[in-house]
Amino acid sequence: MQDFEFHRAQTISEAVHLIAEDEGALLLAGGQTLLPTMKQGLATPSALVALRDLPELTAITARGDGRLEIGAMACHADVAASTIVRQRLPGLAALAGKIADRHVRNRGTLGGSIANCDPAADYPAALLALNAVIATNEREIAAGDFFIGLFTTALERQEIVTSVHFPTVARFAYGKFSNPASRYAIVGTAVAKTADEVRVAVTGAGADGVFRWTEAEARLSECFGPRAINGIEPDAAMLNSDIHASAEYRASLIRVMTARTIASILAAE
C-alpha cells in the first residue's frame, strides 16, 4: 500500500478543512472498504482524515419528533445491539446484525456504507424503503435523492455524512438472500408500510444499484400480503447478471424475497 498522510480530525470543521485543502485526501471511517481498496491500489489517497475521534458522530438517539437518529460513525455491531434501535426499528437492528461478519461489524459504519454505495450493500435498501433523510455538514438529503448509481451518491467531495434520520415505522423488515461465500446480498429486499403507503426497495440486483420496485408498491398499497405480488417480477433488463446469478434468476428472487419479507412482518404482529 502506498504511504499517505494521516490526520485524526478533532472537529467536523477540521475534517472538512483537511479534505478541502488536499484534493487527494479521503475520509476514513471504519476502513473496512477503503483499506482493502487501497491495498489493491484502486484508491491511492494522499491523505486520510479519520473521523474516529468525533464522539458526536456515534450517537444513537430517539428524537422528540418520533425519528430515530443514528450517527454516521455508529458501527454495525452497535446499531444491531442498540436498545433504542431494537425498540423503535427492530428490522433495522436485524439488518445491521446480518452485515458481513462480527469483526467487520465491529469496525464498519453506517456513514461509510452509504457513502460507499456498493450496489450489494444492505443499508441503502433500508434507507430508501424507510424514506430516511441523510444529514451532512451542509444539508439534508432524502434517501431517494442520495443514492444515484453504482458507488455514486449525491455527496459533494467536501461533504461529510453526520447522521441518518429514520422515521419510526411500525412495519418494517429486510430480507437478505446472501451469497454463501461473501455474505453480500445477491438480492436484498426492504419493505416499509406506513399509514399512507408501502415502499419496497431492492439491493444487490439493480444494474444501476438500489431501486424501488414501484409495481409491487402499488399492489401492496391495495392489499398488504405476500400474495399481492404473485405473478409480477421486475423487468430483468434493468437487473444485474454476474457469475452468482443471472438477471432472470434475480428477478424471480426479488419476488420471492419480497414475499418472504412481507410474511415476516405479518408474522411478527
Binding site: Q2, L35, P36, K39, R52, R102, H103
Partner: protein, 157 residues
Amino acid sequence: MIPLSLTVNGKKVSLEVEARTLLVDLIRSHLRLTGTHIGCDTSQCGACVVHLNGRSVKSCSVLAVACDGDEITTIEALAGLNGELHPMQQAFADCHGLQCGYCTPGMVMTAISIAKEREHLDPSELREELHGNLCRCTGYQNIVKAIVAGAEAMKQG
C-alpha cells in the same frame, strides 16, 4: 513517521510507524508477536483477529495509527505465566479443534469474544458467528465443539 502509543497485552508501547502500517504488521513485525497470523490480507479469513478495546477485529484491515491510545489483546496474552493454557485454548486441544493450526489464533480470539457476549451458545448460531473465520482443515465440527466446551470452562472460571 507518526508517533503512536498503545497498550498491547497489558504493556504500554510507544513507537513511530508509517501511516500505511497495518495493525497486523505492527503486531507481527514491530512487536514480534507472531502468534497473530496473516491468511489472506483481504479481510476474508480471520486468521489475523485480535481484540481492540475488547472487541474482535481483523487486524489486517485496521491501520496502526488509527489505534493510538487503544488497547490490543493478542493470542500471546492468553496462556498463564507458567504456560498453562487459557480454557478456550485447552478446549481446542482437547476437542481436536485444530489440525495445521494456521487459523487457530484467530479462531480462539473470536471464540473468546463470542463466549464473553453470550450466556448460552447454540451450535447453529455459533456457525453463523464464525462466518468471518475460515479453516481449511478441520471442517469446523470440532471447532464448534471446542468453542462450546471452552465457553463452558470459562464460566466455571
